[in-house]
């Protein structure tokens, strides 16, 4: 068992190492892409009244844009090597600090949304697969289609309208915590966890209430792919020989469906969940905007609109890093779901 674990860790390490060239490629590519995009950040940020040529030149110098692109790249890479992602013009803060503060917000939201989505999608998919073509199957399909057709910002605004504006049940949709609540000491950056660690149940409750609507509107959007995949692979699995055998020997339906069919059908669901997670983290910008959620995606979008190079580059690098990690985790999960698979 120990050797098995050790081997897994070693293999995971090798996987991580082998992803370094890809990360480097992403780094250089984003750097060049930002320079190729039209739009001069210096001009944009020098837009106070009376800001003239001199101000523009000064900002250009401050951002290092007065040097040639290869020179800039070398400076950038050496900065990255020292763990410095540059400074954002937009917030005036080091990018690393911004990302460190905002990433937990995005992760907390995405994890919660994914959890809600999985808890809803897997049972829905299983139910649909058990009675293909039935009313229930069509119902699930309709629900999924609706979820996918309604863009997240529409469902977000709708949820706000109903639960905050009309019913007054939800707290105001402005970020992670009510402005009047004092924050717990920061340990993990996940407010719901930090409040629990600090033993502040009221605070935890407040944080959860802020979290539920944005997480729900994100979950609605990704329930569809997860439920469809669950249904499809459950159908295959239910029609296979071992399930027929299990049924014929008279095992309870629970044993047949959950232990045999679902366990075998779950692999593609894990894969999709991994992909969905990475996409959600980067693409939840609309939800973050609607709920004023201080996450990384809205940060990157604002930076992109104002051609603020450093935050965009930092964001892409972060996303690439997370993608590598998520893939690794998915592979490890494979091994747990199906011992025949080993990551290599």
């Amino acid at each position: 068992m120990m050797t098995g674990l050790g081997a897994t860790v070693a293999r995971a390490g090798r996987r991580l190492l082998s992803s370094l060239p890809a990360l480097f490629g992403v780094l250089v590519f984003t750097f060049l892409l930002m320079r190729v995009l039209p739009g001069d950040p210096a001009v944009f940020f020098a837009s106070g009244p009376n800001a003239g040529k001199e101000e523009i030149e000064q900002i250009r110098k401050q951002m290092g844009l007065d040097k040639s692109v290869p020179e800039q790249l070398v400076f950038y890479l050496s900065d990255i090597g020292r763990g410095n992602l540059g400074r954002s013009m937009m917030t005036g803060q080091p990018v690393l600090k911004d990302l460190r503060e905002r990433l937990p917000a995005s992760l907390e939201l995405t994890f919660t949304a994914l959890l809600i989505a999985l808890l809803a999608a897997v049972p829905l998919g299983v139910v649909a697969a058990l009675k293909p073509g039935s009313l229930v199957d069509h119902g699930v399909r309709l629900f999924c289609a609706l979820g996918v057709c309604v863009p997240t910002f529409v469902s977000g605004l709708l949820l706000i309208y109903v639960f905050y504006y009309l019913l007054g049940l939800a707290p105001d949709p402005t970020g992670r915590i009510d402005v009047f609540t004092s924050l717990p000491p920061q340990r993990t950056g996940f407010l719901s966890v930090d409040f629990l660690l600090a033993g502040d149940i009221e605070g935890w409750w407040a944080a959860c209430k802020q979290l539920i609507l944005p997480a729900l509107s994100m979950a609605l959007f990704v329930i569809a792919p997860l439920a469809r995949i669950t249904r499809a692979s459950m159908l295959v699995s239910l029609g296979s020989d071992f399930v027929r055998t299990a049924r014929s020997v008279g095992l309870s339906w629970q044993k047949v469906v959950v232990t045999y069919a679902l366990r075998n059908a779950i692999l593609p669901v894990i894969t999709i969940a991994g992909i969905v997670f990475s996409t959600m983290l980067g693409a939840n910008v609309l939800v973050e905007k609607v709920f004023s959620w201080p996450g990384v995606a809205s940060y990157a979008l604002d930076a992109l609109l104002s051609s603020d190079y450093a935050p965009v580059q930092g964001f892409v690098l972060l996303m690439a890093g997370i993608f590598v990690l998520v893939n690794l985790v998915v592979d490890v999960c494979y091994g747990i779901a199906d011992p025949r698979v080993s990551i290599g």
Binding site: V43, M90, G92, P123, S292
Partner: protein, 539 residues
């Protein structure tokens, strides 16, 4: 085969419902003494002088720092607006202007203290003003417009008196000292944080304050929120009284619909950047107070590049001016919320006065537009692009569609270009856009200031790239014209040139729609177009 139980899914829904039902905790005691202001923008620096600082940062600095002087306020058709002509002391107890207009003498208040308790001295004032004209910061370009360019101009007479010398009697010198940038910093504190590379402590002041203002920073999260608490010793607004609100929360809420919901539900107290459609519906419901002030120091216009064909031909520019669907645009983009700058009648064909911005005698007249096109030698029309930036999309997008439709009627084929903000400013700076819409604002809205900054020189703010020596000469002369009647005459001449040359087409002055809880009082439209938190109180 039986159905699998629905339990997991339904229990999720039940939990969700349960979480939502929980009652909101009450904060009644502190709530009334707290102002919660929501905005789509955000504060990115505590020193508004830092290049790239946002308008919210400007507004915040008005409350955290004092200046030597401040603008008074006046009523304009029943609404409070800042008064450029009434300058009152802020840190200065009184000031004198010498008869020749070359010397300004400020006597400081004896009771003025910085937030750390140390007194405000003339040394601090000199250091701060020196910083503003010397350090590579935004204040430099602003103070230049008031002939304040060098540290030699500021002289300490005694610990409570400072003298400012001007090379010419510049009308804008004094108002410039009331703008955002020349804030008075506690020089002892700032110097402690100065470094040889950064002698003016710009890096430190970006994240810290060292002022004497009405509010102290309690917490600052760039891009999210700033919380400030009252400085109990501050008495620059009304004697012996600090600002009204004990705490002010400035919170970024990017989604305009959410901001509207917040203020309607009473969770936010004040917002100034709602969409025109939301303002209209909130006003109709009548629960909230809506104060709409035409932004009389700002203008939205359609600009044409006077240097590139076909817009280098004055008749083409006139044709466009008579082909724009003004009324429709005004309704579609602003819901009529603003002051129109079109549709005037000039009985003798001359400007009614010398004030810029002026209402021009242009209206939609397609026959006239066609005649002008013919006179320009382009009776068949031409193709061009119409650009606007993403940040203005909510007003510019409906406008663009109407411009396209209307210009098509006289044969001008328009492609609409929606550009990211940074790209738009770059293209404007490089003078590459033929036809576009933009807005300008002047903190110190005087006629010569507008013409000098927005209609002369090969620089970014000369949007239309007009190069008219006569206009430039008159504007330059008017700057130092002491005689009011002559200044007015210069203004009339400038406006006449503007109308005949038609370098760009002013459309309107959009309203600043301040929507607030009905208990909020004292809101004033300020030159920086944001809320001065010191103005407002709760009934």
């Amino acid at each position: 085969m039986r159905f699998v139980s629905f339990r997991p899914a339904s229990s999720v829904l039940a939990t969700a419902a349960l979480l939502l039902v929980a009652a909101a905790p009450s904060h009644a005691q502190t709530r009334a003494e707290t102002l919660r202001y929501v905005t789509g923008a955000s504060v990115n620096t505590l020193d508004p002088n830092i290049p790239g600082s946002t308008r919210e940062s400007f507004a915040l600095s008005m409350s955290t720092y004092d200046r030597l002087v401040a603008f008074g306020r006046k009523q304009l058709s029943g609404k409070w607006v800042f008064d450029l002509d009434k300058i009152t002391g802020e840190l200065a107890e009184s000031y004198d202007v010498s008869p020749d207009g070359l010397k300004l003498t400020f006597r400081l208040r004896k009771d003025a203290k910085f937030q750390d308790g140390s007194p405000v001295t003339a040394e601090d004032v000199k250091w701060s003003l020196d910083r503003c004209v010397t350090a590579p910061i935004l204040g430099k370009a602003q103070l230049l417009t008031g002939s304040l360019t060098s540290a030699d101009q500021f002289k300490v007479i005694d610990p409570l008196t400072i003298e400012v010398t001007l090379p010419k009697p510049d009308k804008l010198a004094l108002p410039n000292l009331a703008t955002v940038y020349p804030l008075i910093i506690n020089s002892k504190v700032a110097k402690e944080h100065a470094t040889p590379e950064d002698p003016w402590a710009t890096a430190w002041l970006k994240e810290h304050t060292a002022g004497s203002g009405a509010y102290v920073i309690e917490s600052f999260k760039p891009g999210e929120q700033v919380i400030i608490k009252r400085n109990e010793d501050w008495n620059r607004g009304s004697p012996d009284k600090p600002a009204f609100f004990k705490r002010v929360i400035v919170q970024s809420v990017p989604e305009p619909a959410t901001r509207a919901n917040l203020v309607e539900r009473g969770d936010a107290d004040l917002v100034v950047d709602l969409q025109a459609s939301d303002v209209q519906s909130l006003e109709a419901k009548g629960k909230l107070k809506v104060i709409s002030t035409p932004q009389y120091n700002s203008i939205t216009f359609v600009s044409m590049n006077n240097q590139i064909p076909p817009f280098d031909n004055v008749n083409v520019r006139r044709a466009v001016a008579f082909a724009l669907p003004y009324e429709d645009m005004f309704k579609a983009a602003l819901f009529g919320r603003g002051a129109p700058l079109f549709g005037a009648t000039w009985p003798d064909g001359k400007p009614l006065n010398g004030i810029y911005p002026f209402q021009a005698p242009v209206k939609t007249d397609l026959d006239k537009a066609r005649e002008y096109l013919k006179a320009a030698g382009l009776p068949e029309g031409f193709s061009t692009t119409f650009s606007f930036n993403v940040g203005q999309a909510s007003t510019a997008e409906p406008m663009a569609a109407l411009v396209k439709e209307s210009l098509a009627k006289i044969g001008i084929k328009v492609d609409i270009q929606k550009l990211p903000d940074a790209q738009m400013s770059t293209q404007i700076n490089e003078k590459k856009l033929p036809l576009f819409t933009e807005g300008i604002v002047a903190w110190l809205p005087s006629t010569d200031y507008f013409y000098r900054n927005f209609y002369t020189g090969n620089q970014r703010w000369n949007y239309s790239s007009i190069n008219n020596p006569e206009l430039a000469a008159i504007a330059q002369e008017a700057r130092f014209e002491p005689d009011k009647a002559k200044y007015e005459e210069d203004g009339r001449k400038l406006n006449a040139i503007h109308f005949s040359e038609m370098p760009q087409i002013p459309l309107w002055q959009p309203n600043q729609d301040a929507v607030m809880a009905s208990s909020i009082e004292g809101y004033t439209y300020e030159f920086h177009r944001q809320v001065d938190y010191r103005d407002v109180s709760r009934k």
